[in-house]
């Protein structure tokens, strides 16, 4: 028995929306970074599900690239957060107000 592709789409939409809402409402920059990761991983579910559905490996190849980029993004992001923490001793985005948000 195969699981219809539609189910995967619902799962990925739920994960994506969780991430999206997390970015918009959470104030801790690390949690925001984790929420972005949720958004990126939701796309990976889509790619793999569609890849299976079409019997076409292009989607799975895309996942490898997306994973690598996500890792690079986290590396750069954490470096920025560390530099910011050293300067301000805070990782709460509400306290970053030197520039009017």
């Amino acid at each position: 028995m195969t699981i219809p592709v539609f189910y995967y789409l619902i799962l990925s939409a739920v994960v994506f929306l969780t991430g999206l809402v997390g970015v918009l409402i959470r104030r801790n920059i690390i949690i925001i970074l984790l929420s972005v990761e949720l958004m990126l991983n939701a796309t990976n579910i889509n790619f793999v599900a569609f890849s299976q559905y079409f019997h076409n490996v292009a989607g799975q190849v895309f996942v490898f690239f997306a994973l690598t980029i996500a890792a690079a993004e986290v590396a750069v992001g954490l470096a920025i957060i560390i530099a910011l923490h050293r300067a301000k001793s805070s990782i709460n985005v509400d306290e970053f107000q030197l520039l009017k948000w």
Binding site: N46, N56, A58, F62, A66, V76
Partner: protein
Amino acid sequence: MTSYGADLLVILPELIVVGAACLLLVLEPLTPPSRKELLAWLSLGALALCIGLTGGQISVLNLRVSAFSDLVVVDGYARFWKLLLYGVTGLTILMSLPYLKAERLQLGEYYGFILLALSGMMVMVSGADLLTIYLGTELMSLSLYVMAGLKRSSPRSLEASAKYFVLGAFSSGLLLYGISLLYGVAGGTKLGAVAAAIGSRGFDDPLLLIATILLAAGFGFKLAVVPFHMWTPDVYQGAPTSVTAFMAVASKAASFAAFLRVFVEGLGGLKADWSNLFLLLCLVTLILGNLVAIVQTNIKRMLAYSSIAHAGYALIGLVAAGRGMGESGGASGLASVMLYLALYAFMTLGAFAVIGMFRKGGLEGEDIEDFAGLAKRQPLAAFLMLVFMVSLAGIPPTAGFIGKFYVFMAAVEAGLAWLAVVALIFAAISAYYYMRVVMVMYMREPDPSAGEVPQLVASPALTVVLACAVAGVILFGLFPNPLVSLALQSVLPLK
């Protein structure tokens, strides 16, 4: 594997830029702090090589070469943008030489990051597959996040970097989700496959509708179009000025290039639908960008809102192309976008070059009030700023006027005369905040209690940048034909 070698030959300019960037990062720790400028000259050398390679193909401008089974394509459109990006990058590097010295930021990796960002942009403009376009976008963005925060001693710079990173990562999440849904609709990520699959479908397919909106939102962040513009003023203000110039010009141009290619080559079948969506974005961008710019007192922030407004003007060309009426079938609309961004590059780079080296003590004079009485102290500097402001406002005989003229003509040709009128009204409003800078320079005396008055610190590299920028603004304002015909020749075919 001869074909593999041929593929590598197609992406030779990208390989040179990436190679030079890696070489710079290796040489950086080996170079004594006083000799970091050598690294800048090395990167300029790599750029010169690329200009030679791509410029040498200008006689076969529209020869379409694809490589790596259609992942990358080099056509007239890609060559046009690449030449523009080389020029902009070269001027940015020259501008950075005196700026970094004045800010005591002599970091060799700065030039490495500029080249990495450039290689990302080059991949974006030549990507023929959503995968390569995404990879290029990320390479560009990751380098720019770091560059925005390079001034580590300044909390403002770090804050700008963090904001840029959070919103940039968020937008690439949206973009990637859009791409994944498009893959689900089309069964492939090549732009050609996408175009073939959606040929018959319209927006009644919900998956396609959501995918298009997410792609538009993802690119909207990179283009700084309202309502995805919130990061722009903060990041432009906080980042080092040479980086701001690079972001405002190069990253906007490359994002527009990739955006146009995705929507024209990939989603061209939906043009009737997306042109309405972009019409809406274009209107709110023009309104908000121009009106909020009026109340700004920091000149970098004002130019950030002005860059938002300019993205709105450029979008008019895309809306006109989507309507695809008139004899040229929308080609003139696309060409007007390309022309607009090329001309916008000169004036914006010039304005930021002046701002970066306009210094008071060890600091930048970035308040508009700092420019008071500049015409008496440094008439030439004030005149250059006048030229850039007049051009940004779109007053003849400058390049800014030519850019706006062709965009508005494309709108009229597409039966959107009312849009051209609205944009013209906002261009008139924008003249108010650009001319305010001129008024402050020419008609106001500096506040005597302020102490040290800011001065434009001249240097040979800055002179070259300003000369190129002002020559571009005035020459293309008087003789736009070569650039116009180049844009018309290299435009994408709209189906």
